[in-house]
Symmetry: C2
Subunit: 519 residues, 2 copies
Amino acid sequence: MPFEPAEFEPAPLIKRPPITFHEEKPGWEGYIEWEKYPEKKKIAQDILHKYNFSLPPEFQFAPLPDTNPVIDSPRWKEYHDALGIGYIVDHSWDVVQKEKPDIIHLLKFPYNGETRRDQLLEGKITDNKYHFVRNHGGIPDIDEDSFELEIGGLVKSPVKLTLKDLKDPDQFPQHEVTVTLQCSGTRRIEQIREYPGDGDELINAPWGEGAIGTAVYRGVPLKKVLKYAAGGVLPECQHVEFIGAETYFKKKNVFNYAVSVPYRKVRANEEVLLAWEMNGEPLPKIHGFPLRVVVTGYIGARSCKWLYKINCLAEPSMGPVQRQEYLYYTAQIGKQNAKYSNGFSIQQMPVSSAIIEPEDKKVIIHDGTITLRGWAYSGGGNWVERVEVSPDGGSVWYAAKQEDITDKHYHAWRLWKIDVPVDAEGWLEFCVRTWDSSNNTEPTYVRSAWNWDLHVTSSAHRIKVYSVNRSRPETAARLKFLDEHGLTFEPLTRPIEASLETEEEYLESVRKYPREPLS
Amino acid sequence: MPFEPAEFEPAPLIKRPPITFHEEKPGWEGYIEWEKYPEKKKIAQDILHKYNFSLPPEFQFAPLPDTNPVIDSPRWKEYHDALGIGYIVDHSWDVVQKEKPDIIHLLKFPYNGETRRDQLLEGKITDNKYHFVRNHGGIPDIDEDSFELEIGGLVKSPVKLTLKDLKDPDQFPQHEVTVTLQCSGTRRIEQIREYPGDGDELINAPWGEGAIGTAVYRGVPLKKVLKYAAGGVLPECQHVEFIGAETYFKKKNVFNYAVSVPYRKVRANEEVLLAWEMNGEPLPKIHGFPLRVVVTGYIGARSCKWLYKINCLAEPSMGPVQRQEYLYYTAQIGKQNAKYSNGFSIQQMPVSSAIIEPEDKKVIIHDGTITLRGWAYSGGGNWVERVEVSPDGGSVWYAAKQEDITDKHYHAWRLWKIDVPVDAEGWLEFCVRTWDSSNNTEPTYVRSAWNWDLHVTSSAHRIKVYSVNRSRPETAARLKFLDEHGLTFEPLTRPIEASLETEEEYLESVRKYPREPLS
């Protein structure tokens, strides 16, 4: 049966599916509990199986549209409509427009939005209204006073905490940590352009260099909450699962968002935080208000938003985001043989970097030096030590000076700037690579680390720029000529209509060095 | 003054420009003589300078439209309209549709059309209706009986010949030669995609692999015509100029099409032919009826169509096609410093080749062997000796067997086929390189030979294909699974909605090799 959303939207209740799915509790709008109720999940699954939904968009073999939102796939809206909860999707888009009016909307729903180049370079801390967003479902609207967090599983004393409890400094010590979060899809567009992949029914967004951002988060270390509020974990506890209040779909099944990190990670310093504040402000709704997890050095997906439940487990979460997504395959694995068990789970993020300025394919008129700016980051407990730029595609490398790189933090990127000596003209390929505190650096080419799910594009980021070196006399003369004739150098491929050489000059030159040999 | 074509087109004579430019002689429609009349050229130039014509299209930084014709630049039509000869443009398009209905129309006017992949592989001789076309102006319509060819300049006896004279075997010996002609822009799209260039006001067409073709031409060697009809050349003659009956524009000046080749080339065997027959048929109008030059081993631009005049000269032709176009620059030359005198003239063509099958970005389901087909050519007096294909981007190379390559001709391509052993799956990069009779081979990457005018893309031609190796058991099992579920493997990036692994299988596997270390 093909899906017709009109059947559900403004229709009277009688025409709705036999069961409508109600919000869980007062003050929690857009939150429907699935994980506690297997029978409810089954009913939803049966409804979803009745319909043929729109196909996911085929964008990987064609240029992306020049629109904002770039991709407006109706598929997930249809899932919600089929369950009678389409209002969640509409509400989420309203929040996007309010909280993130100025970023690049890559995917309308689940919302994926990317920071613009100029916003990325504004400073080492990304403004809340520019910070990238990668959501996996609708944005719930949760009243702070009605909020409670449930902690269970392999803990000594299962417990429920209010936000007031968590924010009480007498109960839990508070910390501020500067943290870079990134999607493991950052820079995916480079993999898509060279080698499309990924048959996941989730639309894996065609991210550029802006699916990364840095903020100061205030909250309490999860380690302390487990210890003080839940009496500590039982010896069998090896993983900690986070459940968020979105509704999440996978292969016509419905879930709440669930992920996990190893307990060992939670135990280390302040590396896993339960946070309510971002850059001195309450968490924006789109970033998880009233409470989210912030896992330092890991893929952003583990920093669960709208956190309402923590489960201590012996094994990683069985949530689809944890076991079926964010897997890193080898180049020999693809649609022909991929299984969830033969990719490894992306948790810690590797060293990577990007050139943000200049932009790819720009003309740079300079006097023998080209300035580049960008970001560099390493996760997994490492930080950035050195940033190097090559003006020739990866043969000669120049290091950025330490004074041109922002401060080190344990868990944050460094923004960098470098002036590279450039004599050559025409198209040059610049690339950047970063060395981290464990001496890791980046693969050289996209090809070096292509993988079917198109994650972790950490190869040396490359741009091509057209170099025009004004310190060369012939170039200076041409620029002057253009100026005198009221012509501009750009657009690069637009012809110069004026004659550049007289017939006499031409003949003198070609007679001196003729095309044909003497004998 | 901006150009408004409506002023000229259906308007009464009174509103036309003060001078209209008349056809030269009865039976020669669409031919206007410019080269003999400097004063007429000056009047045309003055008219052209009055107008601002449409800008040339900016297609090099954006994907090409999915239309046929691909590029419909009005600029050259406007030039013709301004001189009151727009009917030539309309007539040319009529001829295209009649003589080349099935090829890819890259540029509507001057007409540039490319042979399709399936047409290229039909056989070593390209069918006349599929042979590529690169015109530089309108197609004249010349009555065979009114035709005459004028030979002058540095010859002993300037002379005029009718077609009947030329075809008379008692006056001149006839030859049939199998000749590959190609535009020096063949495969330009590879340079455009990686590094746009070329500010020429001529729209340099975004050719793919089909701007090449092979035909058997019948005609008389120019060497014999100069000797028997014009008494031979004078000692000062070093170059032979050909003038064709098109109207040609450059920087708001007007010309007939003029090019030249060295006299030394004309003297060698049957390397320069005056031809009236193509594959056993009279020359199609679009290919130069009634008479054209065929210069073996050279860029197609020298094989002047609608030839009506030959000039023997001490120096190369001063026609803009000869001195201002088809120049090969170094990578350090571009819009910032290019002059006509600092590129060298492209005459002989180098060794090059292309993979025509499979097409770039295709999925290939195979049993351990992938078959590729394509063309290989070398000009400049060389022929193809060996064709090699690499399945890994240029590290391991396999040679095609001689029995899988078409016959050698002195001046023609060879079509080849090769079965390459392929174990690997996922995206593979294949490339081809050819070795010619002088042991020349091709540069490895587009980057190796990028040049501002985007000519001679002779680097190893590359395709990416997605390899699915059915001889691997897991892949065979997946294909069977899809088949049993009524699913197809393609589109590659469309998800498989069915589950590929049970929860038990998943858990068994991840418990055996867990993500986290032991201690």
